[in-house]
Point group: C2
Chain length 368, copies 2
């Protein structure tokens, strides 16, 4: 694996050189993990000023970390509390004769940026921008295989929940139960706070579970995901509680299903992000649900729950092969509830069979 | 409660006026919650430019929020995705004729700060610094009562775990079980990722649970806490698995216990933060464990897991009454394990009975 990280760092150094700064400081945790192969709290990565260096606090025995740092990377531990590793990195870059340092202005706070200036006043700080985020958009097969495992774990956890008795249980308990099952099946952790929404809550984006209990006739919508080796997937499903769904429930479900299918079918290399959004959104718009729709119909996933690309009306750019994204339209009717359907898929060319569905739990309207 | 939030905002406006800026923009989530009474994702608070205003995205039905916003506060919803509420706030402040705006430079990123400058180029941006964090240090009785309930919940969850069979179970399962019990007993959620550490892991600060199983003769250390109405407490305990602890275990436990007691006993209004740290640290230092000790022996708790004050060697300042803090020394022996003992207490004057212990689970060395 070591070559993978070294190759990623080499690509970033190329970006930096092209941008006029030979030296870069990476501080955003997911970006550090992507380039160094480890998640150590507060660790930062200094590239291009002599050998690449991972700066962090404390010694390995004291630290809690996910994965071992790439062996080709020198790790520099600041003793004890040891101050801010980013400040230490700027100091070091200046000491090594760097003239400029590209930093992640979208991650560094104003106060921290000022501390860098103050420790290395002759170093010209430039903006690295979203260079690492851009590198992260297209995944390699190793990354996709982590996402595939994350999705399998998620599907298993959900399948087990569906076999259990749901009526009378609270949203909070169902959410905890799902999270326990994710870990049971080998997840590092839940990728994000599991959402379980019943009755009038169903279909709400990011609904935080409450003490409301599942009742006969409810819509029940769940959204969950596992993290596996740092990679996070996402699934959302909506069910009906009881034997026969009401007509309005069937109609609403069919509509959201059609929207989600349209979004999935739009996924192909070369398709504009906004066209995927439009494909799903148009179905809901045409049925009179334009208002209250989510600002985006999907987004990239990887080392973060939500990353580029954004599948949204104003998003610029086109899909590539090997980009994992969610497609997740939903409709919520205030006071009545609603439907959300959410999959994680990998964009693949038609010749390879089209989009690869990672979250394979059925999207039939199950009555539980 | 509405007067409480209005009074907090009035105090902050006084700070701002004293600092030369009549208008302030609060962006750090815990600070917004403290002043507005609600936690809405990405919400920001604009103070002093006309009436106080909470700016957020989306309408109430679409938002997930903890607690209702203070009714005396006008809520301004940006439609749909609606851009950055902080940028909208700067625009509004400029439109209302404000000349300067104090912002939280320790929270705003460089990129976001630049967006404020760009939307309101004539507005002079100054630094609000940690003004709100400073207001938050001393808690009112309402806040302390939330912390007291959080601690009760935490004690209950821990008590139940201790009654169950532990040998053979993994750290990860025990951690999940504790988190489930926290929610069972009424927590909003776990305050932070529950740490369960067995055998050679025991006593490590912030240890992330692994698949290691509890064995006879192990030290078992746990660290957990509940969030109740946004307030977060923390408890850490170490146990021995099996009937009779080894001599080295008893010695190490007694030492850490003595250090933790010394720290607790040092808590009083007027005592320097660093002297509390020193009281606990000195006991461990004298026994030859100076190296590898945590950079601080405790810290404030409240709407965040870790807030001011820091009980650390270089910390400046003195304790006040009604400041809740942790006291949490520990020793970890690489390869063997170790001991951590952690309580949440509220500083109270001697006349009121001295420090109030919120986390009342026994600190005897239990053999489980």
């Amino acid at each position: 694996m070591s070559e993978v990280y070294a190759a990623r760092r080499a690509r970033l150094r190329e970006c930096c050189n092209a941008g006029g700064s030979a030296t870069a400081l990476v501080t955003r945790p997911a970006n550090v993990r992507y380039l160094a192969g480890t998640a150590i709290q507060d660790a930062v990565l200094l590239l291009g000023a002599g050998e690449d260096l991972l700066l962090c606090r404390g010694t390995p025995g004291e630290r809690s970390e996910d994965g071992r740092p790439d062996e080709a990377l020198r790790v520099h531990s600041l003793p004890g509390s040891g101050g801010d590793p980013a400040v230490a990195a700027a100091d070091l870059a200046a000491g090594r004769g760097a003239e400029s340092l590209a930093v992640e202005e979208h991650h560094l706070t104003v106060t921290r940026h000022r501390a860098l200036v103050s420790v290395a006043p002759l170093l010209r700080l430039t903006d690295l921008g979203g260079s690492v985020e851009q590198l992260r958009v297209v995944k390699d097969e190793e990354e996709i295989s982590c996402l595939r495992i994350a999705a399998e774990i998620t599907d298993q956890a959900l399948a087990e929940l569906l076999e259990s008795i749901l009526v009378g249980r609270t949203e909070r308990h169902l959410a905890l139960e799902l999270e326990r099952r994710l870990v049971d099946h080998g997840a590092d952790s839940a990728a994000f706070a599991t959402s379980v929404a019943t009755g009038p809550h169903a279909g709400r984006r990011g609904h935080r579970p409450t003490d409301r209990r599942v009742e006969e006739g409810d819509f029940l919508s769940v959204c969950l995901g596992a993290t596996y080796r740092g990679y996070r997937c996402e699934i959302g499903r909506t069910f009906v509680i009881g034997t026969s769904p009401a007509d309005w429930q069937i109609e609403l479900y069919d509509l959201v299903f059609a929207a989600q299918r349209a979004g999935r079918q739009a996924l192909a290399p070369g398709v504009a992000y906004r066209d995927v959004d439009r494909a799903a959104r148009h179905v809901l718009d045409s049925a009179g649900y334009a208002e209250g729709l989510a600002p985006r119909m999907g987004h990239g996933v990887g080392l973060e729950n939500i990353e580029d690309p954004q599948l949204a009306p104003a998003a610029m750019g086109k899909l590539d092969a090997c980009v994992p994204v969610t497609v997740e339209p939903g409709v919520h009717l205030p006071g009545r509830g609603g439907v959300r359907i959410d999959d994680t898929l990998v964009v693949r060319p038609e010749a390879d069979g089209g989009p690869e569905l990672l979250t394979i739990t059925t999207k039939e309207l199950l009555a539980l």
